[in-house]
């Protein structure tokens, strides 16, 4: 293992980082919004809303992301004419949007389950208290249920974010040159698979470490009221 080789490939690999971040960021953001929408919709307890959502969630949680990407990219590519009529071909034509779509739908399915569970875990007493104060349902949701649920969901959602960052490595399969795609390109030039994959792996590891730390700090700040005030913790001198 020579250092010069690592020094040469690291900048090349890092050139794929913006795309990796873009894919992860866009799908986590869009997926987060959709997941929250689905989780809220399920609170309405309407069977005609519930069943399609449950089907969607089961489908995307029960199949590998790899299959989903292939199905959306190559599978739907067969229906070009139909998609053109619907005006959607512009979207499905681009590997970038297909990857975003697959990643977003996948994280929506997992995220909606996390948020649904978190909302269910909000103590009923808190909701009753809010209603006793005369809060409307919407206001209870906004002021009581959501803040408690989101804080509750943060650790699990953090795991989901890490899974998404890792999931972007599959985008190379639909011709996108993110970190893993570039790694494979370098290997085809140098044939040094182990060194290149170690470097690429390290980039993801550091990225995920930063995300874990940031989310840990956020969680820490959000649960400040649950800990004793810092003044009490100082040791007596």
């Amino acid at each position: 293992m020579d250092f010069a080789f690592f020094a040469e490939i690291v900048p090349k690999l890092l050139a794929g980082l913006p795309l990796t971040l873009e894919l992860a960021g866009t799908s986590i953001l869009l997926g987060g919004i959709l997941a929250l929408t689905l989780a809220l919709a399920q609170r309405l307890r309407q069977p005609w809303i519930d069943w399609p959502i449950r089907g969607f969630v089961a489908l995307f949680r029960g199949t590998p992301l790899l299959v989903q990407i292939f199905l959306i990219y190559y599978g739907l590519g067969q229906f070009r004419l139909t998609l053109q009529e619907l005006g959607l071909w512009g979207l499905f034509r681009e590997p970038y949007w297909c990857a975003i779509l697959a990643l977003t739908l996948n994280t929506t399915a997992y995220g909606s389950e996390i948020l649904r569970g978190a909302m269910q875990s909000v103590p009923i007493g808190q909701i009753e208290a809010a209603q006793a104060f005369g809060m409307t349902r919407l206001m209870t949701l906004r002021r009581i249920v959501l803040p408690i649920a989101l804080r509750q969901a943060l650790p699990s959602y953090g795991n989901e974010i890490i899974l998404m960052v890792k999931g972007t490595s599959l985008a190379s399969i639909v011709t996108l040159m993110e970190v893993t795609g570039i790694a494979q390109g370098i290997i085809s030039q140098t044939y040094r698979a182990v060194e290149v994959f170690v470097c690429a792996g390290a980039i993801y590891l550091i990225l995920n470490f930063i995300i874990t730390r940031t989310l840990g700090r956020l969680e820490h700040n959000l649960s400040r009221h649950l800990r004793p005030a810092s003044g009490f913790a100082t040791s007596p001198t």
Partner: protein
């Protein structure tokens, strides 16, 4: 701690299992890897078996060498790294003998010469050029440059699909970088699907593989266009790849290929699978 002995046991077991496999100078048993996704050279049938021109040729060569052969499939971009770490002994996957590959592995003599070219829609500017059996040698710089300069304006701005880690990609990067958008695929089957879907405007691949693809009804609007390119980044034709230290195996394979070319086996298989003769000239 009780963990340590368990770990030692596990390590010992795996080494024990591993020790049973080892290679000798003149091998009796070899494993040949092909891609299994590059019809008609090599592909996988519905029951999961590799088949195609190279698979049949590989079996024929093994018979001549009197060795027991196992033919396996491996993703294209992992073939050379996997060969060097000893996953198998020989690559027969329509791989061109290029200088760059020769830095890492060795090759037998070529068993085929097959030019690479473009496939585009018949009604596109490049499609109007129609296919020609003309072969352009990239070493002959003046005619090669003339041919490339003729194609360039006809395909400018188009999206071209090409398989990753191939000499075809090298060629596009070297001669067409900036004038077309290059999109890299793991397999040629995948760029075929994207040509059918209309995500790419053209393909660049070996002409025999393109011809087989375009024979399918959904590609009736497409044609192989322009001349075929050989030499230069395409190297010295298609050969069987092997590790540099396996010199005995190389000698055996070279002798078998000599015989297969001499008695017309290569020509026969070539005509059967590729509908054209790709036997390298003497």
């Amino acid at each position: 701690m009780k963990l340590l002995p368990i770990a030692c046991l596990a390590a010992a077991l795996s080494i024990g299992a591993a020790l049973s496999a080892s290679a000798e100078d003149a091998p009796k048993k070899i494993t040949i890897a092909t891609e299994g996704a590059y019809a008609p050279w090599n592909f996988t049938t519905a029951d999961g078996k590799p088949d195609g021109m190279e698979v049949e040729l590989a079996r024929n060569l093994c018979e001549r060498m009197k060795v027991e052969c196992t033919i396996i499939t491996q993703d294209w971009d992992g073939l050379i790294p996997a060969l060097t770490v000893g996953k198998f002994d020989v690559i027969m996957a329509s791989m061109f003998i290029t200088d760059k590959r020769l830095e890492v592995i060795d090759f037998t003599q070529p068993y085929a010469i097959d030019p690479s070219g473009f496939a585009v829609a018949k009604d596109s500017p490049l499609g109007a050029l129609a296919g020609s059996s003309e072969k352009i040698k990239l070493e002959d710089e003046a005619p090669a440059k003339a041919a490339i300069d003729k194609i360039k304006p006809l395909i400018a701005g188009k999206v071209v699909g090409v398989q990753a880690a191939t000499s075809n990609l090298e060629f596009l990067k070297k001669y067409f970088d900036g004038s077309v958008e290059i999109r890299e695929y793991k397999t040629t089957e995948q760029h075929d699907l994207d040509l059918a879907a209309g995500r790419v405007d053209a393909l660049f691949a070996q002409q025999t593989a393109l011809a087989a693809t375009l024979a399918k009804p959904e590609f009736s609007g497409y044609t192989v266009a322009g001349p075929g390119f050989v030499g230069g980044v395409f190297g010295r034709g298609t050969g069987a790849g092997l590790r540099k230290q396996d010199t005995a195996l190389k000698a055996m394979l070279n002798k078998a290929i000599d015989e297969a070319i001499a008695d017309g086996t290569v020509k026969k298989l070539s005509l059967k699978w590729l509908k054209t003769d790709v036997t390298p000239p003497k």
